[in-house]
Amino acid sequence: MTTTELDDLREAWRVLDRRLAVDVELRLEEARDRRLRRTEATLRPLAWGQAALAIFGLAILLLGASAWIDDRGNPAVFAAGIVLHVYGVLTMIAAGSTLARIRSIDYAAPVLAIQARLVALRRWYVGWSRFVGLAWWLLWIPLVIALSRPEPAPLEPSQAAWLVGSALFGVVGLLVTWAVHRWLRDPARAELERRLDDGAAGRSLLRAQAEIESLRAMEDEHGGRE
């Protein structure tokens, strides 16, 4: 190289830029993989929780089944057994479905698609976990009945009064919960509702969503990626 002018270096400058562009893309890919692995890891506690919940559902199912099969002659125990059986089945289905949704997340998909799957998972999880939780306003009554076997077969008047009182208490509890839920729907209380919703979603899902959100921001910063 004997003569080189400044303008001759433009091609070298363009080559350097292209190489750096490739490097930026590689780094982005590495960072993306790292974050996706972290997202997958943060969902693991939720998956374990669902497995535990499915086992709990199975236990309730077995308790309910044994109650209605063994005590068909006692209407209260029979009804309690059926209710517990149904609740156990529904809990197992819900937990299994949540597990399937967690497993079906394709981490090779575009970030926006993963984000949409997490939003859907959260909506589903928060929705049914409300049902699972709220059911206990009344569900503890059949549970106590099923667990108190083989105590007095037909219900005595005092026990019947207890049953009605407990049911009323549960219904009032449910109504109050519903009223609070309605009250929270006011846009003025959106922040409080969001916090409660975050609480219901649990730390695992929130962290996974935060990871994906930061990945999306990173990709945006580097010019988007689909």
């Binding site: 190289m1 002018e5 001759d8 433009r10 350097l16 190489r19 959106a190 910063e221 010019g223 988007g224």
Partner: protein, 188 residues
């Protein structure tokens, strides 16, 4: 009210993201000129993006976006270089590290030599001259360079001619050094 604010912020962020995508080549070029190592260049790109976001509310759409971006990016680059020099960080240039993905493949020796020359020229320049080089190599007019750097067009031309002279001098020394061993071999 809060929802409106949130929607406004989201729209603002989307507008910025779209603009930033356009500005990415500028960020890369400035990082290439002022970053010392691969990791350093990436950090610098992040820093520039952050400063652009902070300055975004003050951006006047009537003015050229590239000029605004260059001005901020080069200021960040110059400050970064000053900090790096203060910390006496090793100046590892682009294309010099064997594991540097930006290093050349050596397929075109002339081009690789030019890249080496360019790197030496950049590394031997101070912050302001690097800014001038980046803009000139990016085929910006003297007028545009003057606007970005806040100097007169005459000043731009003078400084560029000094850089050209430095390049010629450097090249002369380089050619002399390369020729010297050959001459020695011939005489022996």
């Amino acid at each position: 009210m809060r929802q409106k604010q949130h929607t406004g912020q989201a729209a603002e962020q989307a507008a910025f993201t779209a603009r930033l995508e356009q500005a990415l080549p500028i960020l890369r070029k400035v990082a290439a000129a002022y970053g010392l190592t691969t990791a350093d260049r990436h950090d610098l790109m992040q820093e520039i993006a952050l400063q652009l976001w902070k300055a975004w509310p003050r951006y006047d759409p009537a003015r050229a976006f590239s000029t605004w971006t260059y001005r901020i990016a080069l200021n960040v680059g110059i400050s970064h270089l000053r900090r790096s020099s203060g910390a006496r960080r090793p100046a590892v240039a682009l294309g010099e590290l064997p594991d540097d993905p930006v290093a050349g493949t050596g397929i075109d020796p002339v081009l690789e030599e030019q890249i080496g020359l360019l790197r030496r020229l950049i590394d031997g320049s101070n912050g302001a001259d690097r800014a001038l080089l980046v803009l000139h190599l990016d085929e910006r007019s003297h007028r545009e360079i003057a606007e970005v750097l806040g100097m007169s067009e005459t000043n731009v031309a003078t400084r560029l001619s000094r850089i050209r002279q430095r390049l010629r001098d450097g090249l002369a020394v380089h050619n002399h050094d390369r020729a010297a061993p050959r001459t020695k071999e011939t005489t022996q």
